[in-house]
């Protein structure tokens, strides 16, 4: 393993991320923040939603922002670079095993996911007000889950970005990401699906459910949530599967 090259590859991604900071923020943050405003402010102030909904909403919004930033941050550039601009070729020739380029991409994606979770939390909290009833008792667990969510997002982006064709991007958005977000328990706790027993079982294949429930369970434990122990166990397995799949998919793209 060649750290000098790894660091240089990472520095390149960091440099590009800094250059695209504003567009990235707008791209990934705007939608969750608008959602926060409509559901957290408009609906609660008008009395159509209870004010307690706001505290429930914040962890879910963070889960969505982290997942989308991490996934898109890894998948979109890969889609273009492998198929269209081929600009990744120069980095594939760098004196390091090409798997490490994939690892570097995932590390950068996971860090981006963590940052976006933090960035979205600040304005969301401003929009929602300070009396959200958030708990700081389980910060260690919260951080663990956040890191696992970030890895899931980045490794998922690697798998997605190396699996789909450019013509299928639109389809991915409408067929995969939209249901994933709506059935990701970001806007409601998993327990509230109890009246839809089949759906409640079905959504468990959606990793975003564990992200939302995990962050909610550690940040706002007063709401019903899946036990953090289960969440961590599931996320570790999901992360492992996606990392292995992502690396394999990347290699099949990098070498013919």
């Amino acid at each position: 393993m060649n750290w000098t090259t790894f660091r240089a590859l990472f520095a390149r991604d960091l440099h590009v991320a800094r250059r695209n900071l504003l567009t990235t923020i707008l791209q990934t943050m705007l939608q969750p923040l608008l959602f926060v405003f409509v559901f957290g402010q408009v609906m609660t102030r008008s009395g159509m939603m209870p004010t307690s909904y706001r505290g429930m909403l914040l962890p879910g919004i963070m889960a969505i922002a982290m997942t989308m930033t991490g996934m898109m941050g890894v998948a979109m550039p890969l889609l273009a670079e492998f198929q269209f601009t081929r600009e990744i070729e120069d980095r594939l020739l760098a004196p390091i095993r090409s798997e490490w380029l994939a690892v570097e991409k995932m590390v950068a994606g996971a860090i981006q996911a963590l940052i976006s979770g933090a960035i979205v939390a600040l304005p969301a909290r401003l929009l929602l007000g300070s009396d959200l009833g958030l708990s700081t008792e389980h910060l260690g667990l919260f951080a663990t889950i956040a890191v696992l969510v970030a890895i899931f997002a980045a490794a998922g982006g690697m798998t997605l970005g190396c699996s789909v064709g450019q013509t299928q991007i639109g389809l991915i958005f409408s067929l995969v990401l939209a249901p994933m977000i709506m059935f990701g328990c970001a806007y409601y706790p998993w327990a509230s699906l109890a009246s839809f027993p089949i759906l409640q079982k079905l959504v468990l294949i959606n990793p975003l459910v564990y992200a939302s429930e995990g962050l909610r369970g550690t940040l706002a434990p007063q709401y019903p949530h899946i036990s953090p122990t289960i969440i961590i166990a599931v996320l570790v397995v999901v992360d492992a599967i996606l990392i292995v799949t992502g690396l394999n998919r990347f290699q099949s793209k990098a070498v013919s």
Binding site: A8, R12, D90, Q168, S256
Partner: protein
């Protein structure tokens, strides 16, 4: 001391369309196998033999050319040597390192200019060079010094701090070569380097490549441009259908064509008596007839035409077209394969 290249009985059979490297025209398209493709719809991919036992030895400090039409296996050879294509069998070495088994060591020694520009669109021209050097662990001051020198050499200084998205094809190609030279590689691969370049840029590029070679570096270039192979290369291997069909210096190769000159005729009819007559003309070494076309390999060109016209008239065949080609690699290719390089 320079670094050579060696391949031994290199074979590559593509079972899936090659995704990135080695995407010769022959393999274009059909790569859309994606997430939603059902298994039962997937047709069994025909095995495409891209390389069929290529053994080459390129000496340190040599400019070696791979000449052949699209899909001949040139890019696949480069792909294997540059670690981007896994060989089905056989061996490929960059200096002492196996290009497949000792990838990282091999990658340190090589610089690659791909057929299609693949510049990093998220960076400026200067940043592309700086980051490239950083991947190879070159120190900060040294990086900047080299980038300035190469930008200047490739006449890119005025646009050094622009994003490359708006660059012309020629500028992108120049920057690609500059990038490949940033880490001072022992072996430089140029895959169709002058495709799409204007004559002026081509001359600039050729000059720089020669100069680089004079500093002891090995250069392997692929081309389907006869002139390029002829003027640039110390030795040329002509490849077709994944096989080396001729190998030698451009002069040796041209000398190996029977006669040297090629006179191509189109006639209204080609009676056997005409062919016999043509064969008997002085200086003619070989006559090949296909349909109403006749290829004459001969030791002279223009002076033959009068006799050819007389022979045609004698055998009541009308001459429709006459073309005289001087000794060239193009003729050599035609001689070996019966096809033109451009076909």
């Amino acid at each position: 001391m320079g670094v050579g290249i060696r391949t031994h009985e290199l074979r590559k059979v593509f079972t899936t369309p090659p995704p990135l490297a080695a995407a010769g025209a022959r393999f274009a398209g059909g790569g859309g196998g994606g997430l939603f493709k059902k298994k039962k719809d997937a047709k069994p991919n025909p095995n495409i033999v891209a390389l069929d036992g290529v053994s080459l030895e390129v000496a340190p400090g040599e400019i070696f050319g791979l000449l052949g039409p699209n899909g001949a296996g040139k890019s696949t050879t480069v792909g294997i040597l540059t670690t981007r294509v896994r060989p089905t069998s056989g061996e490929a070495y960059i200096g002492p390192y196996d290009a497949w088994k000792q990838q990282v060591d091999a990658k340190r020694l090589i610089g690659v200019v791909q057929q299609r520009p693949n510049l990093d669109f998220s960076l400026t021209a200067r940043e592309i060079l700086l980051f490239h050097a950083a991947y190879y662990g070159i120190s900060g001051a040294e990086r900047h010094e080299r980038a300035n020198r190469l930008l200047d050499q490739f006449q890119l200084t005025p646009r050094a701090d622009d994003m490359t998205r708006g660059f012309s094809g020629g500028m992108m190609q120049r920057l690609s070569v500059a990038r490949a030279l940033m880490h001072d590689p022992q072996v430089l691969f140029l895959d169709e380097p002058s495709t799409g370049l204007d004559p002026q840029t081509r001359l600039l590029l050729w000059g720089i490549v020669r100069e680089y070679n004079e500093s002891g570096k090995t250069i392997l270039l692929t081309t389907h441009n006869m002139e390029e192979a002829d003027t640039m290369c110390h030795r040329v291997a002509i490849v077709d259908h994944g096989k080396v069909i001729a190998l030698g210096t451009p002069a040796e190769l041209k000398a190996s064509i029977p006669g040297g000159y090629l006179v191509q005729l189109k006639l209204s009819a080609v009676p056997e008596s005409l062919i016999e007559k043509l064969k008997s003309l002085s200086g003619v070494t070989e006559v090949r007839a296909t349909g109403n076309s006749v290829d004459i390999y001969a030791g002279r060109g223009g002076s033959l035409i009068g006799e050819v016209a007389a022979a045609a008239a004698e055998n009541s065949a009308d001459l429709h077209d006459v073309h005289i080609a001087e000794p060239s690699l193009e003729n050599l290719f035609l001689h070996h394969t019966g096809r033109s390089l451009r076909q």
